[in-house]
Every structure is written in C-alpha cells, then in structure tokens.
Amino acid sequence: MDSRILVKTEKLRKYYVVRSKILKRVIGYVKAVDGVDLEVKEGETLALVGESGSGKSTLGLVLAKLLKPTDGRYIFKGLDITWSLPKELRSKIRIVFQDPYSALNPRLKVRESVIEPLIVQGYSGKEAVEKAIEYLKLVGLNEEHLKVYPHMLSGGQRQRVVIARALITEPDFIVLDEPTSMLDVSTQAQILQLLKEIKIKRNLTYLFITHNLAVARFIADTIAVMFAGQIVEIGEKNNVFSKPLHPYTNSLISAYPPPDPEAIWKPEIPEESSIENTTNINGCRYADRCPYAKNICRREEPPLIEVIKGHKVKCHLYNLI
C-alpha cells in the first residue's frame, strides 16, 4: 500500500436499524453509509459535501471511531482498525463538531476542557496546562482564556477552544463536521484561515464535512460528493468545480448564487426528494431525480468509474452529460 495514504476505507457501510414504535421489531434500515471506498493522503484535505441526510456525519463519526460500522474495512496508517483501535492510535484521530456551544461542558472552565484529553493520557496537571497554553496560542487565544467558562466566550472563540482541544493530543487525522456553519461570515473566514494554516504547520490530514460548496472549494484539495450514502463523485477540487461529471454535483454547484449581481444565476435543480424513497432502488440512487436518467439507470447500479486520473464518477451517462 502507498505509504502516503493515511486513511482508507473499503466498502464501508453503516446501517441504522429502524424499529416499529410499539413492539420494537426491526422494520427496516437506513443505509446512511452504503459502500464507501475512500483514500485520504497524508496532508490532504478531503471535503465531503452533500445535502442534509446524505450520510456525511455518519461517515465522519465512523472515521472518527465514535461509531462502529456495520460492515466493510477501515485502514488507518496501514493498520486495520475497523473493529478495534490500538491504544497508541487513540489520540491520533480527533473530531470537531458543528456546534461549539454543546461541544464544551458549560460547567467546566476552558482549562479543564482543554487539558482533559491529556489527563486521560496520564499527563500531570502542570504539564497539561503548559501544553494547553501553547495550543490556545496556536488557535489565536491566550493564557487568560484558561480561566473562563464557555458562556463568556463568543461562538468563534468557543470554536477555537474546541479546535485547541482536538489538536492538543497531536493527532494526524481530524474529522471536522461543519465546523463553521454556525458562525458568522467574518468569524467563519477567521476559522477557515486558521484551520488552513494549522494544517500546514502541524502536517495534519482533514476530512472536512460541509454542505457549503464555497467553503469546500476554499479549504479542500479533494472534493467527495455524497448522495444517499454513497460517494457519487470524487476528484481534485478544480476538476470537480470546472468540470463536474455527475448530474447531482452539477445541480449542487449551480444552486450557489455567485456573489455578483452581473452574473447570471440559473440553478439546474430537479425535483425534491429524500433518502427514504431512494433506499429500495436497484439502480442508480439518483435516477428518480435525474433529468438524464435512462432505463439502464433504474436497472443497474453504476460503478465508480475513474474518468481521468483521480477523478471518479458513479454515473452511467457521465460522458453524455
């Protein structure tokens, strides 16, 4: 295996069991992640985009080792960690969530929250605090912030604290699940810029989950587009944006208004739908919504085809579109 590949998944699945309300019998499954093959290189930022309910957070939780997959393989640094995580790797994978308000315990001072992962690792209090100060500075805060409670901080400052706490164990891989979607425009710019700088300084690898394609275009090297539990397109970001291959990617990109009144905004968006009514399909999951769908699309699931090096698409008709 290529030694530069940090994260690799094979046919990764996560099905949530759906039970009946009264008898709690199993009545079905939500195929939140359904056969995902991914590779993330060391130092790469992979942005995972897709609409609400497409399975982004579920995939993120599985990759952060906070959720057991149903099936498939998860290889980290060449080791199969699908079902267990060796102790020495525990600190190497971290996650940052969307909501910095609920990510911090309101009753704990910043100091306690930030040093907690180190205490778990057996650091002494003094060492841990020294390191906490170093990491607060790295994220643009300072020693003074150790003493305060989360409610005394702004949303942006709280997200900085959460990032410091994730970084303090010196991870290799960080899953960031919509880390800026609750922040304001100016704060979002600060945090995105910070994450980009820290990544280079600390040689990190990111899985950056977002539904905002503009944010993805700014932060990522590679874009993976998720639809109904599957990756339908993946490729180097400029290829994906300048020449999207999947009709879904195309509709997502066209939905974004350009910040320019002179530019023409003409979204190409098919009918609304949701993951629920696409779970029983044998063919392409996008077929119900796809304006180009042909018979083959409803019959056969398209494979993930590599069209040019590193740019893959899961669509029968990509070359006709």
């Binding site: 942006g156 503009a214 997502l252 974004y256 910040p259 009144p261 530019a263 905004w265």
Partner: protein, 311 residues
Amino acid sequence: MKPLEIKGLIIQYYVNNQWVDVVSNVDLDIDERGEILAVVGESGCGKTTLGLAVAGLLPSNAKIARGYIKVFDKDVTSTSNSIKIAMIFQDALTSLNPLLTVGEQIAEIDIHHFKMSKKKAFEEAKKRLAEVGLPTTFVSKYPHELSGGQRQRVLIAMAIAMNPELIVADEPTTALDVTTQARVLILLRDLVKKLGIPMIYITHDLALASQIADKIAVMYAGQIVEYSNKYSLFKEPKHPYTQALLSSIPRVDVDVSELHIIKGEPPTPGSFPRGCRFHPRCPLAFSKCFVEEPIPRKVSSYGYVRCHLYG
C-alpha cells in the same frame, strides 16, 4: 407615495434594567412596487429587530424610541392604521399550526381578511398552492408531512394570500439545503416581482442578496453603514466593512486561496464603540474615527455611506 419609508429609526430593548439601542438612526426606503430591498449583516447586528419593527411585531420589551416607519404613507406604529404586512420567518415549522391542514391555514386568511365563504376559500387555497409550485392535493396535508422546502412554500403561499402591501422575509431559507433554497428563493423573488409586492429581504448572505435584491443595505452594529443599488455596491463597495465582507466570503465560482480577515468580532448592544462603531476593526481608521460618529453621506446619485473617509 413610497411603498416604504424609514427615517431616523431608533429601536431599543429593555435589558438589565435599562434601555439599550439595538437599531440606531436607520434611514431606508423602497421606491416602487415589486422592489426588493436586502438588509445584509452578521448575526446580532439588528436585522431581525428592524424587520419585526416594520412588520409591527416587536416583542414587549422593545420600543421605537425615535423615527418612523411608513408603508404607503401610513405610519406602522399608529394603531389607527391597518396595514397588511406579511412576515416570512426562517423556521417554517414553528410558523405553521401543527394541528391544521395546509388548506385550512391558507383558507383561514381569505375567510378572515376577505370574508370569503369556506368553500370558495378552499378553492383559492388550491390556486395558491399551484402558484408556489405545490400539488393542489397538498391542501389536506399537515405541516409535519412536508419537507422543509415545501413548508417554506406554504408560508410564501400564506403571505401572498394576505394580499399584503409589503412582505418582510427574515432569512427564510437558511434552514434549507442549497438546492431547495435556490428553488424557494427564485420562486419568492419572481412572485413578488410578478405581483408587484415590495419586499424587505433579510439575510447574512451577500451572494444571495446580489441575486435577489434590487437594493442592498449593509448593517453593522445597529446602523446601516452603506446603502446602494446592488450593482454599485458590488462594483465599488465604499465602506471598509462592505469591502472587507466581500473579500471574506469563500466563493463557489472562482478559486480563492486566501480569505480576507476582519480582525476581532462585532460589538454587542450596550457596548458599541465610541466614534465610528467599526473603528476597532477597521484597517483604515484614523484619528477622527475614534471620537466622532460618522453620519450618512450621499456618495452617488443613490444611497449613502457612513464613514469619515467620505467627507
């Protein structure tokens, strides 16, 4: 007669035993029917408060301390004027009654406002649904049976059913997926244009504003810092805040490798800085900015900017 005229508006909230300014000296207007004015700003700057005041829906701990809001020359704050203003909120689920069908809620408006018969009102409700791109069979559906985008369409249908003199839409699509957001917004824009209803569109998203609005007012710390037609605002942003904001948004249409950073964070009511409220974050601030509050200055044939760099 202007569809909307706001002059010298000051709105205060009563918090911690005192009145604090949340919206300060706002002047805005809509010149013609079907014109869309976007109010753009970051969270907490006072957009919703301004929108609620226009719709006459301020909470009980708020008051208009000075200035006026007129809709077609009628003062909104005077109870003797009955002005029909429809407000569309972000959260469609809480704006709808969970116990009534969509049809009942739309029909209710015609029955109540226009004394229509029940049967006729239901027929009208079906027409409204078709107008917002929903199947007419939706009259018998309950809100929880609809997707977020469909609920937002129902709210638009209800707003229009009122035959309002003005619509205030407060971030009506932020809770939706981008594709759904795009469809709903284009629908709303095209409907108000077609029906000639003036609209205030409140958002934090400059890109959306550039596509939806005719005019844009940029709000910062309770004040409108720049007000202009959207073309000049984007081509030649005048206020340092507008300039910074425009270069701090990631873009989907071009590759941006670095975002402009506005240092610090917006101030909150009660602690607005002296002088220009933007001065602690402004890269161009000079001595005057620290002590004297800039007043709105007309800079083009249209609109104004609140900054000492312009006079």
